[in-house]
Amino acid sequence: MTGYVQSLDLACGALLVTAVVIVWRRRLSAIIRTFALQGTALAAIAAILAAHGHDPRLGAVAAGVLVLRAVALPWLLRRALGSGPDAGGRETRPLINVTASLLAVAALTMLAYAVSRPLTALDPSPAADAIPVGIAVTLSGFFVLVTRRRAVSQLAGFLLMDNGITATGFLTTADTGLLVELGVSLDVLLAVVVLRVLAGRMRDVFGDTDLDDLRELRD
């Protein structure tokens, strides 16, 4: 039992830490690597819950998550990063500097804890206690999305958000039905593919530019 709790908390901790690291690091390749780690942590959460609940279907899902988030998506990201001169380029000066970003993430985590009190109170369990982590990761993902200038790092932010949401989904230990889970994963995959293709096109037409310079459409 305690093993279950500790391992679950460990996995959730890993989830949060990787999120913080993604906010922290600037080198895109590093961000992608961390993202893969986070995918693993996510899969771990699913696996732990499956083991604890003796739920083979959830186990399968965990496997799927591992494949999708720890292998497929990072690979896509790396492809999006391209093999051009900017391979492993850096996130040049984010809109909010790293220190401030870290502080913001801390604040967001606090907010997540405050907001999700009713959730944890819904049915107290080790899993439910960890729900705030999922929400915090989601929020920091959104934060990355807002503050990062490079296409790939924005993509990473989006995926970070999605990981958080998925984690929340696992931690609420409520089954949404296989169809929905598959659909969601498929949609995410497709969205990432689309974004990746668009990123490629953008590199073609704009060169490797700062997203914040995309201001042709304005009023």
């Binding site: 230990t173 704009f206 009023d219």
Partner: protein
């Protein structure tokens, strides 16, 4: 049989899409798309005729009630309008060298998938599936927005996908929380909205609040409500005209329908106060944004897009007012806005082909150069401004009346003021484009290019406008006499407001 009718709106477009995939875009296949839209419309009407109440099919995967039927009618009619106008438009594009038959084929495939996804979104029995379908529309339309691979198109597509995915992700979070609440309620319901509504009394209010807030904001992104509205003008401005028509006329409404479903459940759990406040704030915000950006607008496609934001805000206010009258008005507004905005975007596309510029000050004296096109545009704008006999007049009257009746007086008054400003801006910009002599338009319309394109386009520009005329006429007739549709409206509104 009914099951087939219910499945048709999803299956037919998929099949047509496959046809396009195999056969490509030819003069013959060009008319498959309107046929599929017509089939959707027909099945929706048949469904409305034969199916009195709610009914589930395909072991609870899809469910159709009056609201679904009405939404299918919206999708079918606006889809028919847009797809019927597509061949002429595509021919124009190909003639102008901005597209090839390959792009045309890809365009048709994606449009069909887009239609299928929207139909699935309203047919789905589970909010989860609805979410999946709505996110699928983003994926399907992303490449349509970026079809012309210009810088602007790619930029618009990127913004569109990023903002929409981010917003819709919030909705997913909300869904999961709602699901958790449902699971804890012990109904084992999953996200089937009918069963959620049934089990509403047992849902945990505190959790539901958070979930509903996230859901409304998230789906609001797709519905073009502030604060995550910003993708809309870019995408609508860059997308091909028929696609803009579909996105503005149907996609927003489909997303808004999801909001209505959520609101119906939330009101059962939390009482009307919470969603009313939230929707009123979002609606007023959207109106404010639309007004601020319409006053000095320079691009007529963006102008239409912002007017869509305005109308979504109006619908949000109607939903905030709640009650059968307001909701019926909101639904009627969806249909009317779909028809008017759809025809306006189609006309705008033709205008772009004729004048070669999408800047307002590039178009002058259209009434004397292309009378029919000018008439369609003018009529459409008058419809948007809420003039009778178009149906938006009736629906806006209903919404405002409900607003004053349900103690939202202050909000409604503020909305009225903003709507006056918006109407003034719309009419001013449009009159500058349509009225007067085209003497002034010579240099402004992109130099010789504009005028020459006008000369070339003048003949076939008017060709593709038959659907527009029909749509506007339908909108006008609807505003004076809804006939059997009125009953459907009321029962659809009733399905939303009924207590379990």
């Amino acid at each position: 049989m009914v099951t087939l009718l219910m499945a048709a709106p999803v299956l037919v477009p998929v099949c047509v899409a496959i046809c396009y995939l195999l056969a490509g875009w030819r003069p013959l296949t060009a008319w498959l798309a309107p046929v599929s839209a017509a089939l959707t419309l027909a099945s929706a009407l048949a469904l409305a005729a034969v199916l009195p109440g709610s009914r589930a099919a395909l072991d609870g995967l899809i469910r159709a009630d009056r609201l679904t039927e009405f939404m299918l009618i919206v999708i079918g009619s606006v889809g028919l309008l847009a797809t019927a106008a597509t061949p002429a438009w595509l021919r124009g594009e190909i003639a102008a060298g901005r597209a090839t038959t390959r792009t045309a084929a890809r365009h048709s495939v994606l449009v069909q998938l887009f239609l299928a996804a929207m139909a699935a979104a309203v047919l789905a029995a589970s909010l989860g599936v609805t979410w999946v379908a709505i996110e699928a529309t983003t994926v399907a339309t992303a490449f349509l927005v970026g079809q012309r691979r210009t810088r602007a198109a790619v930029e618009a597509a990127w913004k569109y996908v990023v903002i929409c995915s981010a917003g819709i992700a919030l909705a997913l979070l909300g869904l999961l929380l709602l699901n958790a609440a449902a699971a804890h309620a012990g109904a084992g319901t999953g996200l089937d909205w009918a069963r959620l509504a049934a089990a509403a009394t047992r849902l945990n209010p505190a959790v539901t609040r958070i979930a509903v807030a996230l859901l409304i904001v998230g789906f609001g992104t797709k519905a073009g409500l502030a604060p995550l509205h910003a993708w809309l003008p870019d995408a609508h401005g860059q997308a091909p005209a028929p696609v803009s028509a579909l996105m503005s006329g149907v996609l927003l409404s489909v997303a808004f329908c999801a909001i209505l479903r959520v609101t119906a459940i939330a009101d059962l759990v939390l009482g009307t106060g919470f969603t009313r406040a939230l929707l009123a704030v979002l609606g007023l915000g959207s109106l404010l944004v639309a007004a601020s950006l319409l006053i000095r607008q320079r691009d007529y496609k963006r102008m239409l897009a912002y007017s869509s934001i305005e109308h979504m805000g109006v619908m949000a206010l109607g939903a905030a007012a709640g009650g059968p009258l307001a909701l019926a008005a909101v639904l009627l507004h969806m249909l009317g806005h779909g028809l008017a905005k759809g025809s306006l975007f189609v006309s705008a596309g033709r205008m772009l082909q004729a004048t070669g510029t999408s800047r307002i000050d590039g178009v002058r004296g259209l009434a004397s150069r292309l009378p029919l096109l000018a008439a369609c545009t003018g009529a459409g704008v008058l419809a948007l401004a809420g003039f009778p006999p178009f149906s938006l007049f009736a629906s806006e009257i209903g919404i405002i009346r409900a607003g004053f009746a349900t103690g939202l007086g202050g909000v409604t008054a503020a909305a009225l003021i903003l709507m006056i400003v918006i109407t003034a801006a719309l009419l001013a910009h449009t009159s500058r484009m349509l009225l007067g002599t085209d003497a002034a338009a010579g240099p402004a319309a992109g130099g010789g290019n504009g005028s020459s394109a006008g000369g070339a386009g003048a003949s076939d520009v008017t060709a593709g406008l038959a659907p527009v005329v029909i749509a506007l006429a339908a909108c006008a007739v609807l505003g004076l006499y809804a006939g059997p549709l009125a009953g459907l409206l009321h029962s659809a509104a009733h399905t939303l407001t009924r207590t379990p």
